[in-house]
């Protein structure tokens, strides 16, 4: 076994550093969580104290549950995020496969054109997008958000995935062709499983910005029945008074699903980061 790695002092320092980093990274989440269970006064008096018998209160959660249809917002956010990720991964992977696998006229140009989207923020086109959504009657539907987020995520997805797909062995795909697999089967059964770590990376990169986005929900789907969590939580932040109990409770609940999705993808992600190293 590697000497440097098995040295107890090194191990200790390594773990010490990692634990310290974890604590720092988790600290804000921790503060939000504990304060969401406290009454208003104690939040400001002692923000770092744990809730005790005196300061414990679930008033924030009660407010959130009563005000507006919180579970609907939650569901909307979840639908939009999962659907957008699905389309980004599906179309991104398909485009990447075509660009890396097939020789056709304009292949290079097409790749560059798709990569252009990485450099130009989609928000620049907000007005045009809004006009388009109005014209197609998609305003105040979840589809408006899903379409926009899919468009926003595709460039990076195509860019990353096509790089990975180029590395998938030609022989393997050719073996599939000789064995009579269709191009779709080769794509879904042979190539996709081999680029799964890259897909997880793309999913994580896209997930957080979509989940947290306020801009497009506010502009494209502000109706009560299509509000996302982030937009829904805004009602508690007023110009003059902010209901901190409610805001913290809403935030605490908003963290959960992202955490779950992240855990699902991160196993694949870690495999992706280390796959080059151990091969």
């Amino acid at each position: 076994m590697n000497k440097a790695r098995s040295n107890p002092l090194n191990t200790l320092m390594m773990h010490g550093a990692l634990i310290l980093y974890t604590l720092i990274a988790l600290f804000p989440v921790f503060v939000i969580l504990i304060n969401s269970f406290k009454e208003r006064r104690s939040i400001f008096r002692e923000p770092l104290a744990l809730p005790n018998a005196e300061s414990y209160s679930t008033i924030g959660y009660n407010t959130v549950m009563q005000q507006g249809d919180f579970f609907l917002y939650f569901q909307n956010s979840m639908t939009v995020t999962v659907a957008s990720l699905f389309f980004v991964l599906l179309f991104g992977a398909m485009a990447a496969y075509a660009l890396s696998e097939y020789r056709f006229r304009g292949n290079m140009l097409m790749g560059l054109y798709l990569a252009l989207g990485i450099m130009i923020p989609i928000r620049i086109g907000t007005v045009a997008i809004l006009e388009m959504m109005v014209a197609t009657g998609l305003v105040n539907t979840l589809w408006a958000l899903i379409l926009v987020y899919t468009a926003q995520g595709l460039p990076l997805a195509v860019f990353i995935l096509s790089e990975f797909m180029r590395q998938v062995s030609d022989d393997l795909k050719n073996a599939g062709r000789i064995d009579g697999l269709s191009e779709y089967t080769i794509f879904f059964r042979l190539v996709l499983p081999l680029v799964r770590p890259a897909m997880a990376t793309v999913a994580v990169f896209n997930m957080i910005p979509i989940w947290n986005d306020l801009w497009f929900p506010l502009i494209l789907a502000p109706a009560e029945e299509t509000k996302t969590l982030t937009l829904g939580s805004q009602v508690f932040i007023g110009q003059f008074v902010t209901d901190w109990n409610a805001v913290l409770s809403a935030l605490s609940m908003a963290i959960l699903p992202v955490l779950v999705l992240y855990v699902i993808f991160s196993r694949q992600l870690i495999r992706g980061i280390t796959s080059g190293a151990v091969k």
Partner: protein, 331 residues
């Protein structure tokens, strides 16, 4: 009956002309080996035959039918790749049966063929394992078994042994020769290892820069090479080439003599200074300089020759080949 015939096959990638007017035939049951230096188009030719690349022009017939427009899976071929190319998500059995399932063969037929192929290649204990759990040699045997179960009219091998170590390569080579005998199928085999080429082939096709240089049985090519390239490519150590005027004044041809045809001879035609000696026990390879031309002599048995020594090498004139300025064989 011809298993495969190629007529004026050309292949270009954009500007790059890779295959140039390839004409050849593979008879039923024949073992044909493609040899040639790296980048000469062996793999490309194989892929054109398999249908993985379209020929730019020319006609490809397999078993008498023109197959230019037939997809790879319908050409009645099976291919074994250098990198094995096993399906990582399927176990050995799954790898072997995938193509048969695609062809909608009955369960009984599939099972019978898997049994047969795994018996031939000693794969029975590994049928439930995944490719990642096999050694390199076992993976290559699975790849060959996957080709066998399809019962193709024509087998295509692209340097199947080049990832194996020397001992395993020899075993697998013998295994492939046995398979060819048992199956009696037509096989095309790409390699740049000339031992493989000489030992396996009924017929060797020598390629250079996308052109066929010569086609013939191993001994035909060895005894009667059409040009300097073929003469130099087959045989190990390679044939010696030197200006014929070293032997005869005013002769502007190039002379070629195989290392095994040279012998020590005090009245020999070539005066040489030994620069290096390889003593192999059974043979002694003497590398010597003749007028700044390097010449290798392969002497049978053991000889007391040391570097720096001056000696004379002779050969039988019948064993010498002559080539003109373009490298073509002349008398």
């Amino acid at each position: 009956m011809t298993a495969l015939s190629l007529q004026n096959v050309n292949k270009s990638f954009g500007e790059v002309h890779v295959l140039k007017d390839i004409n050849m035939e593979v008879e039923e049951g024949e073992f044909v080996v493609f040899v040639g230096p790296s980048g000469c188009g062996k793999s490309t030719l194989l892929r054109v035959i398999a249908g993985l690349e379209d020929a730019s022009s020319g006609e490809i017939r397999i078993g008498g039918d023109v197959v230019n427009l037939t997809p790879p899976s319908k050409r009645g071929i099976a291919m074994v790749f250098q990198s094995y190319a096993l399906y990582p998500h399927l176990n050995v059995r799954g790898n072997m049966t995938l193509a048969l399932k695609q062809e909608r063969q009955s369960k009984a037929v599939i099972e019978e063929r898997v049994q047969e192929a795994s018996r031939m290649l000693n794969l029975e204990p590994y049928l439930e394992r995944f490719p990642s759990e096999l050694s390199g040699g076992q993976r290559q045997r699975v790849a060959i078994a996957r080709a066998i179960v399809r019962e193709p009219k024509l087998f295509l091998f692209d340097e199947p042994l080049s990832n194996l170590d020397a001992a395993l390569r020899m075993n697998t080579r013998i295994e492939i020769a046995n398979l060819h005998r048992q199956l009696g199928a037509s096989m095309i085999y790409v390699t740049h290892d000339q031992t493989e080429a000489m030992t396996l082939a009924d017929k060797i096709v020598v390629l250079r820069d996308g052109r066929v240089e010569q086609i013939g049985s191993p001994m035909e090519l060895y005894n009667n090479p059409a040009n300097q390239f073929v003469a130099g490519f087959l045989g190990s150590p390679a044939m010696n080439f030197f200006p014929a005027e070293l032997v005869q004044d005013g002769d502007d041809r190039t002379m070629g003599v195989r290392p095994e045809d040279l012998f020590l001879d005090d009245s020999g035609a070539l005066a040489a200074r030994v620069s290096h000696v390889e003593k192999l026990g059974g043979d002694t390879n003497v590398i010597a300089q003749v007028n700044r031309h390097q010449i290798t002599a392969r002497l049978f048995g053991q000889h007391a020759v040391e570097p720096g020594q001056d000696l004379r090498l002779g050969f039988n004139p019948q064993n010498a080949f002559h080539f003109n300025g373009e490298g073509m064989r002349v008398e």
